[in-house]
Symmetry: D2
Subunit: 159 residues, 4 copies
């Protein structure tokens, strides 16, 4: 995870174009009897951030599905650092940290807006499939979409 952190910090030098931050308020129904957000919900928040980010990039899940693509999740990893609860606001910054046309890794900084505390450290791995959920190589199937992800990866790389 050290590398990911480095990547993230370095990207601060790269200017506005790659930076996407998703602001999200915690709902009451997302807490559990411990009084804090149930840990499973963060996996959903990551998806929210990822989907809205893709839409900002012009390739929303809905557009991708129209073109016959889906982006299933192959793996998730989430380390819980501090707790938030209903009414709190979190900021999620997704960046592409691995991409080769076939697989993609997205890493996320998640902080509490008011305090700046790190809430979780997380990453998700994905592949690309057609409508029959068969894996495809995006570079061979759709060079425009490929170029978007490739650019995101390059922007995320340390200079």
């Amino acid at each position: 995870m050290t590398n990911l952190l480095t990547v993230h910090l370095d990207t601060n030098y790269l200017g506005e174009e790659m930076s996407y931050t998703y602001e999200r308020e915690i709902n009451y129904y997302e807490t559990d009897k411990m009084g804090i957000v149930h840990h499973s919900n963060y996996i959903r928040f990551l998806e929210e951030a990822r989907c809205r980010w893709l839409r900002e990039l012009g390739i929303s899940m809905e557009i991708l599905e129209e073109k016959g693509y889906t982006i299933p999740t192959l793996e998730v990893n989430c380390r819980y650092k501090t707790h938030v609860t209903s009414g709190d606001v979190i900021l999620i910054k997704p960046i592409v940290t691995e991409y080769n046309g076939v697989r993609m890794k997205v890493s996320y900084d998640v902080i509490e807006k008011n305090t700046g505390n790190v809430v979780i450290k997380a990453w998700t791995k994905h592949c690309f499939t057609n409508t029959s959920l068969k894996p495809i190589n995006m570079k061979k199937n759709n060079i425009e979409i490929h170029n978007i992800f490739d650019k995101l990866l390059n922007e995320a790389l340390p200079v």
Copy 2:
């Protein structure tokens, strides 16, 4: 709702064949920061009971979908009576209280297993659709499925 209650009590005289009870333990992630089950989850528990009941009757949602039918929910009504929390076990008894081939109303007794306390009183209304989500008349489309629901209604009626 008085009628529904009467229906339920009367059906105790009608023998085993119509009686279905779904036993369900409450999960930790279904509680909220009040320390009790979040009220939205009961709508899901009702669906669980309904789906497993239909499967017992030989018409699981999966079989219905294979035949091209779905049973969308048109309306839900849920009155919350007492609270349960993680580790508690509830018993859900669904009965058909209205059915005419086009619309169906299912009513539910939900009690806590250990105490017998009424947890919620609820009903849901449904129609039947084909794969394009167009409403259909089950009596005209599939007399076998129609007969099952019709029998359930008759069994639920007070003698």
Copy 3:
């Protein structure tokens, strides 16, 4: 429900102060295999709208809990009219349609932003409790909070 609709239409004449609209995008994880929002999720969207509305009014759930109050849900009723799916945006307008210090009914118009289609018609009933979940009379317990709800009810009444 005709009365509720009338109330809502009439309130358009009453000026901006009571009008609150919550804009909410549907998430991917809120859909089910029918391809549309699972019906249980609307109960959660209503809570989101209600909580953010209360916060706008200066009495967020968090502030209420600090003062020792909660607002449990006693009953929900939801009629499903048209479907929405991930990426769609809904607008939720809550109004107080009954209030007497002890009980409160909140009604909701929920429309799809792009089409103006009615998505659901819903209402929820609530009481007020102290930290031991014992019902209280808000008029006797906290006249300031009482006055807010009372004003909301009066604003919602047809002229």
Copy 4:
């Protein structure tokens, strides 16, 4: 993850006492518009398995909470292998693969009952806290609970 698999296979020689399998049917509301279980739900299924397993061992979450302990989740990792959908039944086998009184790692085999297909490979890491959510050393705080987890770890080790 190779080691974990080895651990799991070896434990088959150790007799019945440590083997716990949680059987779980997938609900309709747990699917998404891809027609399969939404990936976030598996985190919840793991918790279900973990909680019921602890109860079998005499230390349910409710008993632990009464004694003033909670077991927060520090990290989750989940690799998605094959898809299941509503009506499918999965079997979850949790085993303790790391434990030292302060931290615990639980690993899970999750297979589809009918096919034997591996659905996910997952692990979760936990600590132990008191009611103020301060980390504690279970060995120093409660030797009986410590011994249960210690025994589970030893049973899971390859002979």
